[in-house]
Amino acid sequence: MSPLVEIRDVSHDFGAGRVLDGVSLDIPTASYTVLLGPSGSGKTTLLSIVGGFLMPSEGTVLIGGKDCTGLLPARRPTTTVFQDYALFPHMSVGGNVGFGLRMRGDPKRERIEAAGRALELVGLPGVFDRRPHELSGGQRQRVALARALVVEPAVLLLDEPLGALDMKLRRQMQDELKAIQKRVGAAFVHVTHDQEEAMALADKLVVMNHGRIVDEGPPEQVYSRPRTRFSATFMGESAVVDARVLSQDGGRLDLESPVGRLSLPGTAAPGSTIALAVRPESLRIGEPRPGDVSFGHGTLGEIVFQGSFRRVMVVSQADPAITFTARAPLDQALSSGERVHLSCRPEDIILLEE
């Protein structure tokens, strides 16, 4: 099945700065796609281009196989939930939700019914006649969602929709968003800088940095096998070690790194430089087991109790510029300043593209 939205080689310039640089992305039908990245990564610009609020400097956007690049927002099968909700303060909640249907010319009775159903879908029955300013932030958020959903868009675009909510409400709305997406079956595209939110919501996670897509895939894959240094460090913590490939032999790499010679499975051209990432939960403190890869010795720094484990920082002795973060079980006796040995299983080492 061809994807619902195809973004092809899209670039965008604001003045002299390039905010999107050759982005290509497929958004599948009836799925939850999350664009994750720090501010300035181009994620909101990309969303605006899909929604039709910006015309890209280069590239095309196809929705349902049709070229929509130059089409006005109104002419696209997309609607947007804006970061600030952008409700109409002079209309009732029902008037807000029914606005899209009114523009389409639906008769009043149908509008009222459909708006009522949409409000029920987002868990806000009985506020039809209220004004937006009488509602709480979370309720306004739901009204904005209902207003965008009532016209039954093929793609719903959400621009940091939970940004203004407090943590508890945020996690609750997050679960509801996912449930609503399943129910209405539209493709949701959600922009956020919160990795936890991204991992919880996404069927497909797209990590962006400096106007490019640096990683994409199911969140489990992006977390456990990040493709780039950026996604390895942005999505959870990772220690990153640069290494030079000495030789490759039968699927094994011999590497020279600041923490010593390493040997692990993988392929890369001899003489090239690669980067290795290790997740905190993969690192082992103590004598290496047979077959494990050793990162040499380090000095224990900060130790932070985190409930089910302790988060410890270990500064490499061979290269003090490298700090490993590890998770130590609670029963392991450790004290700050102690000299420890670090290692991990070879299959837990992630080879990164630069």
Partner: protein
């Protein structure tokens, strides 16, 4: 010492307010005079002169003319001011700052100059002197005012709401009529009423640009030429009363909106 200063300040304030309002108070007081001359001693109260005003066909015609000119010219000024403000707020124009300064510049030019300019222009183009010309003149002086008020009130939240409306399929005119204008309602209302009060008691341009049918201030001037009598006080008090009412309406509406 401190008490003396306080008293001095009080006296000063009294003097200032007296200076502003005493003439109006005297005008209103002698509009209730029972005798022929608006000079002490006060012989009233009597409604005799108000009766005379209401029975004066020319004054009443002037009143109707003034109201029509005020309402229509203010409506035109507000619509044009709103569209100009929207244009400046939403689009990048060449020489934006200069153009914006230029559109508000008439606020600082005297009515006499604008009135004479229009008189010369209308003469040259063959537009006869009439209430319509006076109305055009009032729209000219009130447009910059409406523009300045409305422009100052357009903010980013209007932009976001407009974007949302467009996303949901609204055409440009629907965005303006259904979203932007209603959201700017207090500013539109305030500029409309302010423009009305300015047009209502504007004399110089109305004097220059009308001939047979004219507005109330010009009729009052005609009346004054035949000498002072309490009738002029009565009609002056009426004009003042209407202006005060307009100001009160603006205040009430704006205070109510601000409280929200």
């Amino acid at each position: 010492m401190r008490a003396a200063l306080k008293m001095l300040a009080g006296v000063y304030a009294l003097a200032v307010y007296g200076f502003i309002f005493l003439p109006v108070a005297v005008l209103i007081l002698y509009s209730f005079q029972a005798t022929l001359f608006p000079i002490p001693p006060f012989t009233g109260p009597s409604l005799r002169w108000y009766e005379a005003v209401l029975g004066d066909r020319r004054l009443m015609a002037g009143l109707v003319n003034s109201v029509s000119v005020a309402v229509l010219s203010s409506a035109v000024a507000v619509v044009l001011g709103f569209l100009a403000a929207y244009g400046f707020a939403r689009f990048r124009l060449p020489a934006q700052t200069a153009l914006r300064a230029l559109i508000t510049a008439p606020l600082m030019v005297s009515y006499l100059v604008i009135g004479m300019g229009l008189l010369i222009l209308f003469n040259a183009t063959g537009v006869p002197k009439s209430l319509v010309s006076a109305g055009i003149a009032h729209a000219v002086i009130n447009l910059p005012l409406s523009f300045a008020i409305i422009y100052s009130q357009i903010g980013d939240h209007h932009l976001y709401a407009e974007r949302a409306a467009r996303d949901l399929g609204a055409r440009q005119w629907q965005v303006l009529v259904l979203v932007t204008a209603p959201m700017l309602w207090p500013a539109l209302f305030a500029s409309f009423f302010l423009a009305m009060t300015f047009s209502w008691d504007e004399f110089v341009m109305a004097f220059l640009l009308t001939r047979f049918e004219t507005t109330l201030p010009v009729e009052i001037w005609n009346l004054l030429r035949s000498g002072l009598n309490p009738k002029t006080n009565a009609v002056g008090s009426l004009v003042f009363g209407v202006s005060i009412m307009a100001v009160l309406i603006i205040e009430l509406v704006l205070v109510r909106t601000l409280r929200r």
